[in-house]
Symmetry: C2
Subunit: 326 residues, 2 copies
């Protein structure tokens, strides 16, 4: 939930003079997203998002994010497309912040994902991986395995205040993941944050993927692992193998997972769980005074990590080894 930067009507009207999207009718700060200030903007020509990039997003990365959204939107992926100003640029400046106008995508995200949602997201993720292959810009994953020890060092000393024993649990897991993290797997552009609130549906049809602000280059299977954690656990923390089977099966039909990827999936899922556990811990232990952001529960990811530690192979995700696609 976030609106950090307020925008005056006069400033916004000036900003929009560089675009061909008509006059402002209204703009409302949206209580979604935790990294940026987002407004839903109505103009005489339609609905748009106005995003102001706050300091947690590196300005140097914005051309990658905006370029990727543009690339994917023209390669068969339904995702918000940045609107070009008359000078061809997608990135401007408003209220002292880098800012962009982005097409508004209709759709609602599933609060209670079902099996069909999981299958749809699996297929969409595979299509995203394929569509990103010929995108020319690169962005290293700033939140991959090499970043986890520095994060751990930020929060390790306070971890036991969140849950007794958490420090040693994190340390042991980190040691294990650093020792065994795969070096070679198929990779390319990944979304890296494809949680349910970033996938829109209209009726039961997936209508779009949003929020590409963690997108980067990494193993495709790591993106799948993030989704297993984000989509396949029930509110009571039970892992739902039917959902996992649907997600993995639908992915595999669009982009076949190699044997090496399948073998690595449990370890990648442990890593994905640790990554969100660590960043949630950082946020949880560093809520600024006057913050408008409610930190997400880090302990949810302790439970997910414990589950993934016990997984022996993809069979525990409800699938036999996935074979070649007919």
């Amino acid at each position: 939930m976030a609106v950090y930067t307020d925008v005056a009507a006069e400033e916004l009207a000036d900003f929009l003079k560089a675009y061909d999207i008509g006059e402002v009718l209204s703009y409302k700060g949206i209580a979604e997203g935790v990294e940026n200030s987002n407004y839903l903007l109505h103009t005489t020509s339609g609905s748009f998002f106005l995003t102001l990039y706050e300091k947690r997003v590196a300005i140097d990365d914005l051309p990658f994010f905006l370029g990727l959204m543009g690339h994917l939107a023209t390669h068969g992926i339904v995702c918000p497309q940045p609107v070009k100003a008359r000078n061809g640029e997608t990135l401007g400046r408003l209220a002292g912040r880098p800012a962009a106008i982005i097409d508004f995508l209709e759709g609602v995200w599933p609060r209670k994902p079902n099996v069909a949602h999981c299958a749809a997201v699996g297929a969409a993720l595979a299509k995203l991986h394929l569509a990103g292959r010929d995108f020319s810009m690169k962005r290293v994953n700033a939140l991959s395995v090499s970043s986890w020890r520095p994060l751990f060092e930020q929060v390790g000393a306070c971890a036991d205040t969140v849950q007794p024993g958490l420090h040693d649990f994190l340390k042991a897991e980190l040691d294990h993941l650093e020792a065994y993290w795969p070096r070679e797997l198929p990779g390319g552009v990944i979304h890296a944050d494809l949680f349910p609130d970033n996938v829109l549906f209209l009726s039961d049809r997936l209508s779009g993927l949003i929020d590409f602000y963690f997108a980067c280059h990494d193993f495709f299977a790591y993106d799948v692992a993030i989704c297993l954690n984000a989509w396949c656990f029930e509110p009571d923390h039970a892992f739902n193998v039917t959902k996992a089977r649907a997600l993995l099966g639908a992915y595999h039909r669009e982009r076949a997972l190699s044997e090496a990827e399948q073998a690595a999936l449990p370890l990648l899922a442990r890593g994905a769980a640790l990554r969100f556990l660590l960043t949630r811990l950082v946020d949880f232990l560093n809520v600024p005074a006057g913050a408008l952001v409610k930190p997400k529960d880090p302990l949810e990811y302790v439970r997910k990590l414990r589950f993934q530690q016990r997984v022996g192979g993809v069979r525990d995700y409800g699938v036999a080894i996935l074979g070649p696609v007919a």
Copy 2:
């Protein structure tokens, strides 16, 4: 800023089956309003507000608020109109809360109100007072003079932690206002919260009044006094007599202020300042853990109150005694 209650897509789709406003396309939690959960809803037939009433709004008052909005909208005041369900009701139930669908009004609220804005709001306030005269429902002002001592007693003990000397300052002011508060002045339905964020403009034209959830019966001139405090101070806390003159003059042209009302205005403005000072203090001293609401600054209203204490008559608001309207 508020979204307290999340709504699942399935619940919302069910809720909307009682209305003739089409299918859900999207709904986004809005970071505006501090009392309720508000969503901007796009359906196949247009844009709406979906409001879920949280516990700070008394359920028994909702028919008054919704009825008033309906009444005003059919009496020449541009304000959001509650949408009737097929059974004729405007109030339903969603996610365990009373809930209503309300027409979305386009427009933007002025972050930096100018003299023309102040004139427009003065005229609109007078028209609202006139349009409300034949509204049949009644609601006592729960935040008028008799409520201030209980509020003071809630926060008095901690007041000096916010500003040294504040306790005694509040107590003396309260004693004065209780002793001198007028008993008889023209009254009727007032908005009671017509701050800039509740007045929408398109270009420079006032396009609507919103947020009637403090509306009640009280002196008309008290509503004017609330607006003087809310609209006529500069960011550096200076009182802008040009804005006050514009606001009062425009009001007076639509609904003439009697001599008694004009004489009472400085005292009413002190009361209006104390009312917002006290409720902001309550909010400031009672921010719940995990709150998503950033409390407004109570000290802003200490400064406004000190100004109003020094006002000798409407002349200090930049106007001679306002005479009969030609």
